[in-house]
């Protein structure tokens, strides 16, 4: 094969690589869904509302039932919103953990309150700290979809 022909082939292959590499990289699906302001707002506002609700758990469950139901409905809505976003499975699973009535965070706390009617002060304080940490994880992942931020800098305590 003539040397000039080899050179041309090499040049063509390099040119193709130059054109195709960014196209191939751009054509790949993103590995994780992007940041959404609504998901961030859901997490931060539900964190504040959940912690405020835990403070009210010294009273009887029946006296707070309407507000608790509204709060848990909004947590369910945040889960559904998250689940509906493309490539957002990890965030949706975080909400599943938060709302699970058999788990140890908001869903489990409300189930226990309903079962036991009231909740002791010591337990409320400890649970409040745990649930705040739980929300911090959800918030941290959402924030990092937009900009790299250490989770520790977002933590409540």
């Amino acid at each position: 094969m003539p040397v000039a022909h080899c050179f041309t082939l090499l040049t063509v292959r390099r040119l193709l690589a130059l054109i195709l590499l960014p196209l191939v990289l751009a054509a790949c699906d993103p590995l994780i869904g992007g940041y959404t302001a609504e998901a961030y707002k859901n997490a931060t506002s539900l964190k504040a509302r959940s912690l405020a609700m835990i403070d009210r758990a010294g009273r009887s469950y029946s006296s707070q039932q309407a507000d608790v139901t509204a709060l848990m409905t909004d947590i369910d809505a945040a889960y559904e919103f998250s689940k509906g976003l493309p490539r957002n499975g990890i965030s949706a699973r975080q909400w599943e953990v938060m709302r699970d009535p058999d788990g140890g965070l908001m869903g489990g706390f409300v189930a226990g309150w309903q079962r036991n009617h009231t909740v002791s002060e010591f337990f409320r304080d400890e649970k409040k700290r745990q649930i705040a940490r739980g929300y911090d994880y959800i918030i941290c992942l959402e924030v990092n979809k937009q900009k790299t931020t250490p989770c520790a800098s977002l933590a409540s305590d």
Partner: protein, 112 residues
């Protein structure tokens, strides 16, 4: 300027950019993940003795104590999910950075 010279300039610029991109996007991830793991353990380490003491003193019922342990298990799940999600966000940032780097290096070397 010949194509060969321009190709070499492209490769040089791309390699330099790739080193910086990999360092920024991936290398410090190891330290961040380690720091997050340690922060998780730090936050948990005093909890169990405090709860055991409260249980003994009657500030907590056995059921509440168990609910707190369930909370720790749930937090561990969230920690692991978050770590997996953060790894994906870093890789995604690397992918986007790589596209930009190839394009930028080509513009610069070939004057496109």
């Amino acid at each position: 300027m010949s194509f060969e010279t321009q190709w070499d300039a492209f490769l040089t610029e791309f390699r330099e950019g790739l080193t910086i991109l990999a360092r920024n996007a991936l290398e410090d991830w190891k330290d961040t993940a380690k720091a997050d793991g340690e922060a998780y353990l730090d936050a948990m380490k005093d909890d169990l003795p405090r709860w055991a003491k409260a249980l003994k003193e009657g500030l907590l019922t056995k059921n509440e104590f168990e609910q707190l342990l369930d909370g720790q298990k749930s937090l561990l799940k969230l920690h692991m999910l978050t770590a997996a999600g953060l790894s994906k966000t870093r890789l995604e940032q690397f992918r986007v950075g790589l596209i930009s780097l190839v394009t930028k290096s080509a513009y610069s070397a070939f004057g496109i």
